[in-house]
């Protein structure tokens, strides 16, 4: 545990042993002073990759804590048209734990890398990053994905139609679909919708009750720390400085509420991990929501310009008609 001495000063007892209630982070309590920038009043987690031993306790704890929410699809599935709409069925593969599925919201990604001439196996807990401005939530055309004021994003399985747009706009391929469950069955199951999307909701009910997310509580190595975003960012930088490491998640996609600290650059780590469907990358991500938001100034200016043009034309016409007599 010699590395322990290099741990950030963030009070682990407050955040971990006493739970969120002791740390004064239960809904509302931590948000008394208005946020200066979006995300300031969010809860974030710090994941210290070098501490993780890959034991999988967190994965088991997540399953245990959230099993009651797992989909129970009705079979046979309604036939979907056109044939391009494919069934996504994980109900017979619930044990799969090497990727994200509707039954596995957290998995351990593996990487073999060389640190200071020494070969090392790193294990990385992967789940939803809980973006500060989450495209999965904002771009859901149906309002079934929502963001809580503490920064948690979650998908309401009662409302979700399973169109998978959240998955397509998520830079990390996080939400996963299960066919044969949810509201679409009561609407037009053959022509629209395709089940329900599932992902980590950062144990929103436990957090609201002042408890820690199950995966954080179960970890024997205290890999994850949870706290106010600003403090977690500071802690991540402090840790990175202490171990000569690197931070991921602070600016990615405009900022997330999950900060990874790695002993090697993330470009190196990226090359060592397996990525694919349900297996997120560690790539640089620009702020996906910012692009269109930049057009807001145009949306404000256009009506002003339009009205000004009409007024200008009116006075020009009046003047010329006066001149004409």
């Amino acid at each position: 545990m010699s590395r322990g001495s290099k741990r950030p000063t963030l009070s682990r007892r407050a955040f971990l042993k006493g739970g969120l209630a002791a740390a004064g982070l239960v809904a509302g309590a931590g948000t008394a002073n208005a946020a200066l920038t979006p995300g300031d009043d969010h809860l974030a987690t710090l994941i210290d990759i070098s501490r993780c031993i890959g034991c999988g306790e967190c994965v088991a704890a997540c399953r245990e804590a959230n099993r009651s929410e797992y989909p129970q699809p009705k079979k046979p599935f309604p036939k979907m048209y056109p044939p391009r709409a494919k069934v996504a069925d994980w109900s017979d593969k619930q044990a799969v734990d090497d990727r994200l599925t509707p039954y596995n919201w957290l998995y351990i990604q593996q990487a073999t890398i060389t640190v200071a001439g020494e070969e090392r196996d790193l294990t990385i807990p992967r789940r939803c990053m809980h973006c500060v401005n989450p495209p999965c939530v904002k771009l859901c055309p149906w309002g079934s994905a929502k963001q809580l004021e503490n920064g948690i994003s979650r998908i309401d399985s009662e409302i979700c139609l399973g169109g998978s747009k959240c998955n397509k706009v998520c830079p990390w391929d996080i939400p996963q679909r299960q066919t044969g469950v949810g509201l679409y069955l009561d609407l037009l199951p053959n022509f629209a919708g395709n089940g329900v999307m599932y992902k980590c909701h950062r144990c929103h009910a436990r957090v609201a009750a002042g408890e820690l997310p199950a995966c954080i509580e179960a970890c024997p190595e205290d890999v994850q720390t949870i706290g106010p975003r600003r403090e977690i960012i500071a802690a991540a930088h402090e840790l990175a400085k202490a171990v000569g490491g690197y931070v991921y998640g602070e600016a990615e996609n405009g900022g997330t509420n999950t900060l990874y600290v790695s002993p090697v650059p993330f470009e190196t780590l990226r090359e060592a991990i397996e990525t694919g469907p349900g297996q997120p990358d560690l790539q640089p991500v620009k702020d996906t929501m910012a692009q269109a938001n930049q057009l807001i100034s145009a949306m404000v200016m256009a009506p002003i310009a339009g009205a000004a043009a009409a007024i200008g034309k009116f006075y020009a016409a009046t003047r010329s008609s006066q001149e004409e007599g």
């Binding site: 946020a35 920038t37 979006p38 995300g39 056109p82 391009r84 709409a85 500060v132 401005n133 904002k138 771009l139 055309p141 149906w142 309002g143 079934s144 929502k146 963001q147 809580l148 004021e149 309401d156 409302i159 169109g163 998978s164 747009k165 397509k168 706009v169 629209a192 405009g254 996906t288 929501m289 692009q291 269109a292 938001n293 057009l295 807001i296 145009a298 949306m299 200016m301 256009a302 009506p303 002003i304 310009a305 339009g306 009205a307 043009a309 009409a310 007024i311 034309k313 009116f314 016409a317």
Partner: protein, 163 residues
Amino acid sequence: MSVPPPITKLFTRHTLYRALLFLCALTGFGQMPIYKRYYLADIPGFGWLADFYVTRFVHYLGAALLLGLLAYTVADYLMRRRSIGSPSWSAWVRSALLATIVTSGIFFVAKNLAGAYFPPTAIIVGNLLHLGAVMGLLAVSSYCLLFGKGWTSDPGIHKPKRV
């Protein structure tokens, strides 16, 4: 509609309005995951319709231009209403639908900003309003186009004037 319009008439405010409505509707419906499923994005040149970030950008752009055009039209009408004439019933219906679309659209734009939290019910109601008004407007506009219904009750006055 019986006499073919001269080429300059192709660039009138009406044509611009129709083009923007079409663009907004095309990219607006693209906000729902349907173009890929229904093979529309497979048509050469339409692949971008399956990219939610591109369609959102173009929808915002179309909305900005439409807002400019609507502001111009409203200001122009208010100042010259005596010479333009009173709005027809279809103009009232279309204006109400446009107002609903614009209001719910602006609400969506605000919702998409970082740090905006709205209850899901507000988003669902906004969606139904935006989508419902869009479908209503498309229906009423097609009817007006087919049956030659103008925006003002006096068809003579409606003819474009040299101003």
